[in-house]
Symmetry: C2
Amino acid sequence: MEKYSVIGKRLPRLDSIGKVTGDTKYTDDMLLPGMLYGKILRSPYSHARIIKIDTAKAERLPGVRAVITGKDISDIPHGLLRIKGAPPFFRDKYAIAKEKVRYIGDEVAAVAAIDEDIAMDALDLIEVEYEVLPAVFDPIEALKPGAPKVHDKYAETEGNLSTSTNFSFGDIEKGFAESDLVLEDHFEMQFVCHTPLEPHSVIADFSHSGDVTLWLSTQVPFLDQVVVAETLEVPVSRVRVIKPPVGGGFGGKADTHSLFPIAALLSKKSGKPVKIIHTREEELVCTSRRHPVIVDHKTGVKKDGKIMAVESKFITDGGAYMSYGWASIYLHGILQFGPYYLDNYKYDGFRAYTNNPYSGAQRGHGGIQARFVVESMMDMIAEKLNLDPLEIRKKNGLKRGVITKNKFNIRSCGHVESIDKSTEEIGWKDKWKKLPDGKGVGIACNFYCSGGALSFFIDDYPSHSGVNISAEEDGAFTVFTGSSDVGQGSETTCAQIAAETLGVGIDKIKIVAADTGITPVDFGTYSSRVTMFAGNATKNAAIQMKQKLLETAAEALEAHAGDLEAREGKIYVKGSPDKGITVTDTIKTYFRVKKEPLTAHGHYNPPSDIADVVRFDTGEVNLTPAFSFGAYTTEVDVDKETGVVKILKIAAAHDCGFAINPMAVEGQIEGCVSMSLGQAFTEDFRVEQGCSMTNSLLDYKLPTAADMPPVKSIIVESIDTEGPFGAKESSEGPTTPTMPAIANAIYDAIGVRIKTMPITPEKVLRALEKKGGK
Amino acid sequence: MEKYSVIGKRLPRLDSIGKVTGDTKYTDDMLLPGMLYGKILRSPYSHARIIKIDTAKAERLPGVRAVITGKDISDIPHGLLRIKGAPPFFRDKYAIAKEKVRYIGDEVAAVAAIDEDIAMDALDLIEVEYEVLPAVFDPIEALKPGAPKVHDKYAETEGNLSTSTNFSFGDIEKGFAESDLVLEDHFEMQFVCHTPLEPHSVIADFSHSGDVTLWLSTQVPFLDQVVVAETLEVPVSRVRVIKPPVGGGFGGKADTHSLFPIAALLSKKSGKPVKIIHTREEELVCTSRRHPVIVDHKTGVKKDGKIMAVESKFITDGGAYMSYGWASIYLHGILQFGPYYLDNYKYDGFRAYTNNPYSGAQRGHGGIQARFVVESMMDMIAEKLNLDPLEIRKKNGLKRGVITKNKFNIRSCGHVESIDKSTEEIGWKDKWKKLPDGKGVGIACNFYCSGGALSFFIDDYPSHSGVNISAEEDGAFTVFTGSSDVGQGSETTCAQIAAETLGVGIDKIKIVAADTGITPVDFGTYSSRVTMFAGNATKNAAIQMKQKLLETAAEALEAHAGDLEAREGKIYVKGSPDKGITVTDTIKTYFRVKKEPLTAHGHYNPPSDIADVVRFDTGEVNLTPAFSFGAYTTEVDVDKETGVVKILKIAAAHDCGFAINPMAVEGQIEGCVSMSLGQAFTEDFRVEQGCSMTNSLLDYKLPTAADMPPVKSIIVESIDTEGPFGAKESSEGPTTPTMPAIANAIYDAIGVRIKTMPITPEKVLRALEKKGGK
């Protein structure tokens, strides 16, 4: 008999039928009686003071039901509100600008009308008088003294320093002094947009009794609840956020977006439900995006490849607002040195405010940029030292049981296995340095977290993730979870965990998810936390439920509960599956005997490996319960005439601990590859003088299915001791090795090293020219 | 300090703001994307065999998306499905007729189309070939041998006997033999419709994954869930019934109506959500209604008024189907003798199938007809014996602590207090027999149940009522209850009970109610059960929650939990309200210390006074946890020229045990009076040869606000030992005394006794003529 009945299986997702048949209703599909449509007036200037707004004409337009401006917004700026001791600059944005606009697209006013056309017409009738101010668009310029100040009060220090992180451990000077080779280089990466197929969407319904209900396309309903409550100045429990099916988030919908309180305020003022759906232009320009970075990197190594010291400096363009920037700048530094062991490290990260659209968190948050730099450097070092790029990676690699200098507890590690499996799949030993000119292979490794362990929110909330399970008389179980499936399939994962633990088929599990009025608190979908956090909470609830079932069955079977097992819908004495009682009959017996509902609870809080704070001086942080590892190899074919890089194959080995649903893990890996191919080749959110040049999907080029190379997903299972059934993340880490693996393969193919993204044909040709010219 | 902070207060209902502002959205207000509109083809014949149905033309009509007939319906007839050992004739109806139609209005086919007009056009295109059968419309004729048979297989015995109840206790012959007076008489009452302002309404959404969600205007979502599941042949847990706000039910929406599985089947066949809203004609004709009764009644009394024996025979017109008829016929008998003590009793109830529209349960179920008969008889006996009608009622009255012959346990009794307060209010002693000709006063008493104690459903369900409560970090509590507020205000009652128990204001309580996918099982709104059952479940959950709060606060206050009390949002050592901790801070402390969600559960099952069965031979039944009492007096002015009866005042004293919300109790009393004034004077669902003559609110005359006489509601609080804080029912019992009080007052005014309802001017004039003619 197989160890597991439901987990470890390639099961179709619970939401798949709804999605292929069109049953699934997204926020924009929904209609409420009397619903109005909202539109937002946005700043045409990068930086300006709002002198006067006259909404009278707009208000008089027939069909307009409400117009709001910054005056209608509470004086509490919104942001990530619940961070214990968070400095005030963590909250630097009003839902609608109050005094100044800071980028082209900043919210200036909003209108609710009986249809979208009238709402658009009304925007044209709002008269705004601006005093245009000098603006700054380059982060390095922005950090210089005398630069125009984007924020008068929120910057961390004087000037436009949005936030910075500077930490070190070990003895960096000694490390470099003892190195045989010290390599320095410079890297740059671009703005990249989340671009979910479903843009940010909201329906808000403010009732006359003071309660407001919102249907949000969001990753974090419980955080949005707080932001709306604070902006509207109502108690948190008066705000109910319901998360309908979400068509992708990728980190952008982890931001507590201004759109939501705006819709709620329009609803309050009009007395009607209000729907607002971002246009594609708004979705590209007026949401957060991945930080562009400018990196100076320095690594010292021994002759044998052992890393002695790393020093790096990241300067990022934060744009006009903070969003998750404080986390990004920290993660760039903290994720950089894994999957390798480091004794001596110094990191300086600076985030500048500019008058560009703002940056925030995006899938692979902090890891994308870090891995591109480090994995490029690893290959460059290996070449200088004439080492095998696989060996230098293995030699420096973290191992199970290691506790890093900054107290990362490595509970499981598939680093070496990933390298071995990926290289075997790509045929590394026959290809590396052996393919004809123009063809090459490259490798890069992965290191990521499985959710954030810091208890930022715990003071106000009961636990990181809570789950309730109730049993029904036909043998079904309802799992109430506040976790947010935004397309990644986490509800199916939780259902599999519940079914396996309870010993029933997945068809017996119903998920009720993400409704702040109904489901236990869960912080949401970000940092690849859902399988680890909601998965463990589900497992814990199911264990409690199972115990009640076993005790009930024990009486019926005249056995000890400890001697029983539950599997495939039946409870029986271990080893005697023929004699037993069905789970359904056990539930009915419970009801008959106890005459009370049968419910169970579970929750999950991550282990406190170290004190529950971020040490900004040493880089010590209780980052995550579990670290994922992996290694991607790729084979490329570079056309030296055109500069076009063709990806022949990607062999993506990812250590997800244990694959609850291998098909879902593969889907995540493939999605991550596609997304990072976008950043590698075509996705480039370009801003000129603060003005977006990429306002549609014609300009902002997402890879399509036709662009997808063959991807072989290889699941490495290191069985983590903290993850549910050993599982770790597989939704973000797999974004990170693609770009550096390609850059390394291009070097193997044509001997040029691309250190800035994206890799355009022009860039390849120019690099070839430069190399030839030398 | 007052004993209670939240209960016993005249608080506005939680739903009041939504209802007066129009925020409240009923089923018909809701729109789903792609929603279709359903219409039902109904039989034009009272009794006919369906030979052939051709739906081809209807299916070809552009805009039509689904047509269904009886062939699409499972072979499981629907009805109240979960009654342990229920005989097969309890389920005698298919959602759509399969072989025969049995009344004008019976469902023959149904259509879903893109709008209502097309659906109506499609009905015209369905060709049905009928073989018309002989029909029977009179219940007495129907019970005779040789009458046309309405059901071939479901009747209880041969012929058209739908169901009968025959029981007796004591020695009826001896009782009459020992009586000084034996009075016999005959009474008749008419069909009366529920006529909620919101007709039966449904939106059904059958997904391709096999799950179906229904938004129903219903009193019994958990029963509808089962009916839909059985009709559609899917597991019960695959059906989710959500109860939006309901615009009145009055017992009609306790029927598991064919409309709901029809909508679900149309949705399944069309692949789209389907909405069906009854027209007013359908609501009047094609739902259940109060049974018309033909009653022969015989009472034996001693000279002093002591009742020695009662024998009665009820024949009722059940119409074409059973609905709740098996309960009605039992309740007529069982509710008849209370509020009086009886040693010897014999009851024979017969329910006939006819080809009329069908009868079922209606507010005051079984009590309306019984009280009219008994309270009229009491006055007639008092007159014959020259006794005071108040004294004969007091003398025979039940008392707290009495256990009746058929084992009713009278835990509380406000019978005498109600008589005293009502008569004092009306000025009885100065008016009875003392008013000028044409004016008079009358009295009648009440006796009703507070929910059904029989555990019909308990084999499959955990408890009669379950409640979960969860605490939120801003000090709010969410109460999850499966109970169904259909306009009676029960959610406010439960909120008050929770708030009082938890020691917080009602503004801190949020109710999540009646969603089979979310809330614990509760059997619904019928038999006036909600305050007793859901109220006790809420109280029990709140007690558990409070205990957790007190234990948490005890640590913070360095006190013993037992020494603490919670009141008005604060927990403190008894007697020292100045030193304490707020409930909000206690919740936050719990979260911080325990790091887990804070939830509690409660449920309620009624006491098992006697074996959990209906004794059909002795009338013994574990009917209810608590009996309500009451007495109404009324003063009337009869115009002897026109026969018009004017009600000058009604003094309505009702023993509701304890008034959780006096304003809500008064609202119920006033509503009950209005409803029974309807039956007394104007409401008369007339059927001629099976064809309804009253198809609109022009013909079926509901009393309006302008018809309402002054009503003084008098709340009598007997503090029941089983009810939450002593509360009993107040939603049905108060319907029952109005009609007999009026009939008795008319007798006092003009000396004629009306024994059939309604009391039309013609009837009064004819009675006056007859009296004059004597």
